[in-house]
């Protein structure tokens, strides 16, 4: 549990960070909260020769409004997310999920950018971002670009990030007023990844679902958007048969790994239950 040797860099601007990452090449890794990378380094499963620490870059911090969107700087910690009134008012599902990430110590260090950019299927925020239709801002040697969260994840730890690129901000369109939301996460204990988790954002009118998006965490090598399951509930009042249909549709796209959290069959089964419960709870919150 002792990392290999590495050099440490602390740039002050995004441009400097990008420059460092592109000059140092494959052996350099950006360091945000470090809660995924540092344990991997201690196990020597990751042996970067250079760490480019992003903590010195003021421009990566903060939460702001941009028209009808909320823009969250990549180095915003989970704790800052939880303390934000803006998030509480407009994106409460982010706070519900952030509270389920490990413990306060981890939330003081862990960043939202690191959480979404690392491509770890166990992280909670990626499925949420897909559910919310978020966009990521990437800055690289060739300039900046925006990418939809749904386009970002390619495999476990594989993302659309090109060499030298840094994820600098997350931009989310404000969900409709009166939307219902829920993040249901089954985990064995504080600090554990989800055995299965589901995010739901929906709107209701006259007791029927008008719009719905469902995201799934840790049930595949990437976060999933359960579109068929979401379609199945549109126009319904979430009766028992519909919930069953939605859970089945969600389970159909899950392919979790068997691990100490349980065998594949169990993880899919509780994945379906998380979808059901998230739908019910979201509907109960919708106005």
């Amino acid at each position: 549990m002792i990392p290999g040797p590495f050099s440490y860099h602390r740039p002050a601007t995004v441009a400097d960070a990008v420059k460092l990452l592109s000059t140092l090449g494959d052996e350099a890794r950006p360091l945000a909260g470090g809660h995924s990378l540092v344990p991997m380094m201690k196990l020597r499963l990751a042996t970067p020769e250079h760490l480019v620490d992003l903590h010195g870059i003021d421009g990566l911090k903060g939460i702001r409004r941009d028209g009808n969107r909320i823009v969250i700087g990549a180095m915003t910690t989970q704790a800052e997310l939880l303390a934000s009134d803006d998030i509480a008012k407009s994106l409460p599902i982010l706070q519900e999920a952030a509270l389920l990430i490990a413990d306060p110590q981890v939330r003081y260090m862990g960043t939202i950018g690191g959480n979404v950019a690392n491509g770890d299927p166990g992280n909670d925020m990626p499925a949420l971002m897909m559910t919310l239709g978020a966009h990521y801002r990437l800055e690289g040697p060739g300039g900046g670009r925006d990418i939809a969260a749904t386009e970002f994840y390619q495999g476990a730890y594989f993302t659309a990030l090109e060499p030298g690129e840094i994820l600098t901000a997350i931009s989310v369109a404000l969900p409709a007023a009166g939307h219902g939301y829920a993040y249901e996460k089954l985990k064995r204990k504080i600090g554990d990844y989800a055995t299965a988790a589901a995010a739901v954002v929906l709107t209701m009118a006259g007791g029927k679902v008008v719009s719905c998006a469902i995201g799934l965490t840790n049930l595949h090598e990437t976060p999933l958007l359960a579109t068929d399951a979401a379609k199945a509930v549109i126009g319904t009042s979430l009766d028992a048969a519909t919930l069953k249909k939605a859970a089945a549709a969600a389970e159909a796209i899950m392919s979790p790994a068997a691990d100490a959290r349980g065998p594949v069959e169990y993880r899919k089964h509780v994945g379906g239950i998380m979808v059901t419960r998230a739908l019910q709870r979201a509907a109960s919150r919708a106005k």
Binding site: M1, I2, P3, G4, P5, R44, D103, L186, R188, K189, I190, G191, D192, Y193, T195, D259, A260, R261, G262, P263, Y266, R267, H269, V270, I273
Partner: protein, 807 residues
């Protein structure tokens, strides 16, 4: 007498003696980060050692090439079995009479086995060196399933034992067999089963787990070539035993070995044994002439040093149709891993598992245990329990519930019917123990009344009916557990470690101003000895506990003791402390008589000093006696006031308790909710109720972890799949239920202060309470026994197999 004269109550309170909820004196440093642990020790020129470990569970080691490792800046040496052979230390004896490789000698027998020891100027360089050592392995077929270890064609694990048809504990039946241990009357027991109205038989497994103290095993060894002295600072629960073992195997005169256990961050049995890290650090220090530190990391701790349990217990009970037990038959398949390194008293290959008749009056019983080798880490330590007692308690407490189910009786009622009665003590059990004292009916009834047991059963019946009507997806279980522990190893007539009788010791020196120091042969790893030992002395000799400093863990200053494990500290060392105090008190009485100019027999003890019988104003306090001991002792008497006592207990002590767990389980997810947990402990005389409560909280938390998910699990290739705290269940405060504690007091008749020991009871009694709750919850659906651990997915699997998801 005037208003300023303290009352008797005030004088008693000022002592903070036995029965006082005295605050823990050691916490002043622990809560401020000022403890002094092994890893805090930094000696000039200190080097760091770390292990190359085997990725394979079973493989031949074809070659080890250290060339590139030695080129890494800072790396000074790479020690292998070949190096150790030059000092005859490639193998070491185990506490169980087996031998164990220090470093891989020709083959490896479990994943993460120690293969080479890299010594470097810092920990980083050592780890860099490890990654450059090239080991060539030839994988061999593995034995992971204990039930296949004695198959005819099972791979031979211990080639070093080829041709040895007997081991330290008698004949071996198979090349992977270690020992067979039998106790009890087979014929009588078989006859009881033939005559029985009702019998049950169930294979009850207690899975492999690990004590996982927060501080891992570690040491610093420093050899002084000029003086020829070896100093070892280590996380030892039994420092004197370590000193003797080192003297025997390293051939260094024992007076030149200094073993020091500084503050130790939890032991739970993990720190009783001797590990390759200690030997390698000592050899490295002797070779380099510099101090060498070895600190285990979390993965190493979980995968290589000392697992616990892994007992597979085929349990049979015979009974009459009205529920009176008539016989117990148990066979245990004991998975010891690659080497038999169990930390038991030498003559007890399965520890005190023969306490398996529990709290019940079995007229006859028979027990056999087969120890076997597999490709798993060695160990088999008593994880917060006396030797194999938690396995035994789990076995009988599950067995009694299964019998109750078969009889259609309430499990509490079945227990009440079969308890050893108060008047039967001292009670001779069918498997050879003499229980010292107990009042089981009182404890059980107090538990049942406090929690409204009858009301809970009514609620459960309603919940079950609602479940069957489809109104709820939650089922409710009540887990009753009534355990009897056997602690305080132990009497020299049947307990020794490597030939050393398992006494313990105390030396007390009082200073002229009415203060003193007590040195004890045990070693606190968190139990609070610095607090409680002083309380015993305070009550015994009337010096305030605050004026007594307690010191443990330094073999140069502490009297020889066998250490802290198996809840033996209070039963054995606690007795030595009382006996040393009484020697002091006897001398003090002579001094007081001389000073008060009366005969000794005219004096009586009064809280904190002596007074003349019939003349209550004529007194001499212990404080004044201390002063007198250094300036005006009676003619012919030696000055000073000190005593030492070595206590060989006449018997074990037998703490007991009644626990109940109330649990709901959501059958759709397997998620459980502990609604209530009530623990009544009877540990005899209570020295510090606050510390007892803390011990019970800690032990219950471990029991909760073990029963509900904590395991060391191997895949079929022998890879450990639960080797870090991400997967090995270590509950946080959030998962830990609320604990309700209670007590009765049945003193031990043979212990000087009547105390029995408590630290391990909650682990012993807690595990069956949790497991019985899960099993009780599912029983109405037709199951008899569900194996631990009861984590979410296994609960779901049980629910599924019982048909609760049928359309």
């Amino acid at each position: 007498m005037n208003d300023l004269t303290p009352t008797r109550e005030q004088r008693t309170a000022a002592l903070e003696g036995m029965g006082c909820k005295r605050k823990r004196v050691e916490d002043a440093r622990f809560t401020q980060g000022k403890g002094n642990y092994v890893d805090d020790l930094k000696l000039p020129g200190m080097l760091h050692g770390d292990f190359v470990r085997s990725p394979h569970a079973h493989a031949r080691v074809k070659s080890i090439n250290s060339e590139e490792a030695l080129k890494v800046p800072g790396v000074l040496a790479v020690i292998t079995a070949e190096t150790l052979k030059t000092v005859n230390l490639a193998w070491m004896p185990t506490l169980a009479g087996d031998v164990q490789m220090v470093l891989a000698d020709g083959k490896v027998l479990f994943q993460n086995q120690e293969v080479a020891f890299v010594v470097a100027t810092d920990r980083y360089a050592a780890d860099d060196g490890i990654n450059k050592v090239v080991v060539e392995y030839e994988p061999l077929p593995v034995v992971i399933d204990p039930f296949k270890a004695m198959d005819k064609d099972a791979p031979v694990l211990r080639e070093d034992l080829a041709g040895k048809t007997s081991g330290a504990h008698g004949p071996r039946k198979h090349h992977n067999h270690i020992f067979e241990w039998t106790v009890g009357d087979k014929d009588l027991t078989d006859a009881a089963f033939r005559k029985a109205d009702v019998t049950i038989k169930e294979m009850i497994s207690y899975h492999r787990t690990h004590p996982s103290p927060l501080e891992t095993c570690q040491c610093v060894c420093s050899f002084d070539k000029i003086r020829g002295e070896l100093s070892i600072w280590g996380t030892f629960q039994a420092p004197h035993v370590i000193r003797t073992v080192v003297a025997l195997i390293a051939k260094i005169p024992e007076q030149k070995i200094h073993v020091i256990s500084p503050d130790v961050g939890g032991g739970f049995g993990n720190k009783v044994g001797a590990y390759p890290g200690y030997i390698c650090a000592a050899v490295a220090s002797i070779v380099t002439g510099k101090p060498v530190k070895w600190v285990e990391d979390r993965i190493e701790n979980l995968t290589a040093t000392s697992f616990a349990r892994d007992y597979h217990m085929t349990t049979e009970i015979a009974a009459t149709k009205d529920g009176k037990v008539t016989g117990l038959r148990v066979h245990v398949l004991a998975d010891h891993g690659a080497f038999d390194a169990c930390a038991d008293p030498s003559k007890w290959p399965a520890g005190f598992f023969n306490i398996v008749t529990g709290s019940y009056d079995f007229p006859t019983a028979h027990l056999s245990v087969d120890g076997i080798y597999t490709n798993k880490a060695p160990g088999g330590v008593a994880y917060r329990c006396s030797f194999r007692v938690t396995e035994a308690a789990y076995c009988i407490e599950r067995g009694m519930d299964i019998l109750a189910q078969k009889l259609g009786m309430d499990p509490a009622e079945l227990r009440l019917k079969n308890f050893i009665r108060k008047e039967q003590f001292p009670y001779h059990s069918a498997l050879g123990w003499e229980y010292d004292s107990g009042d089981y009916h009182t404890a059980m009834k107090k538990m049942m009344e406090t929690v409204d047991y009858a009301g809970l059963r009514k609620e459960q019946a309603a919940q079950r009916a609602a479940f069957k009507r489809g109104e709820t997806r939650e089922i409710m279980g009540l887990g009753v557990s009534f355990f009897t522990e056997i602690v305080g190893a132990g009497p020299s007539k049947n307990c020794d470690i490597l030939g050393i009788a398992m006494f313990d010791s105390c030396e007390i020196r009082l200073h002229p101003t009415g203060a003193g120091i007590a040195r004890v042969g045990t070693k606190s790893t968190g139990q609070g000895h610095e607090t409680t030992w002083a309380q015993i002395i305070a009550t015994e000799i009337g010096i305030p506990a605050d004026n007594i400093m307690v010191e443990e863990g330094n073999t140069d200053t502490a009297p020889y003791g066998l250490g802290t494990y198996g809840s033996r500290s209070t039963p054995v060392a606690g007795a030595a402390i009382a006996m040393a105090s009484r020697k002091i008190k006897a001398k003090a009485q002579m001094i007081a008589a001389y000073k008060l100019e009366v005969h000794e027999d005219d004096l009586e003890w009064d809280i904190d000093g002596f007074r003349v019988k019939g003349l209550p104003e004529k007194t001499m306090s212990m404080k004044d006696i201390c002063w007198a001991a250094y300036n005006s002792v009676p003619p012919g008497m030696e000055p000073g006031l000190e005593a030492v006592s070595y206590y060989d207990p006449p018997n074990m002590t037998y703490p007991f308790g009644a626990y109940i767990c109330v649990m709901n389980i959501d059958v759709d997810t397997g998620v459980y909710k502990i609604r209530r947990f009530y623990a009544l402990d009877d540990c005899g005389t209570r020295i510090n109720p606050m510390i007892i409560e803390g011990q019970v909280h800690g032990g219950l938390t471990e029991a909760f972890a073990i029963a509900m998910g904590q395991e060391i699990r191997y895949d079929p290739e022998g890879n450990v799949v639960t080797g870090s705290f991400m997967d090995f269940f270590m509950p946080t405060a959030v998962e830990t239920p609320h604990w309700e504690t209670d007590f009765t007091v049945t003193p031990s008749p043979h212990h000087p202060i009547g105390a029995k020991g408590v630290g391990e009871s909650p682990n012993v009694g807690g595990v069956p309470a949790f497991s019985n709750a899960v099993n009780d919850a599912f029983s109405f659906l037709g199951s008899t026994h569900i194996q631990m651990p009861h984590d979410y997915w296994r609960n779901w699997k049980a629910a599924k197999s019982l048909g609760v998801f049928a359309a």
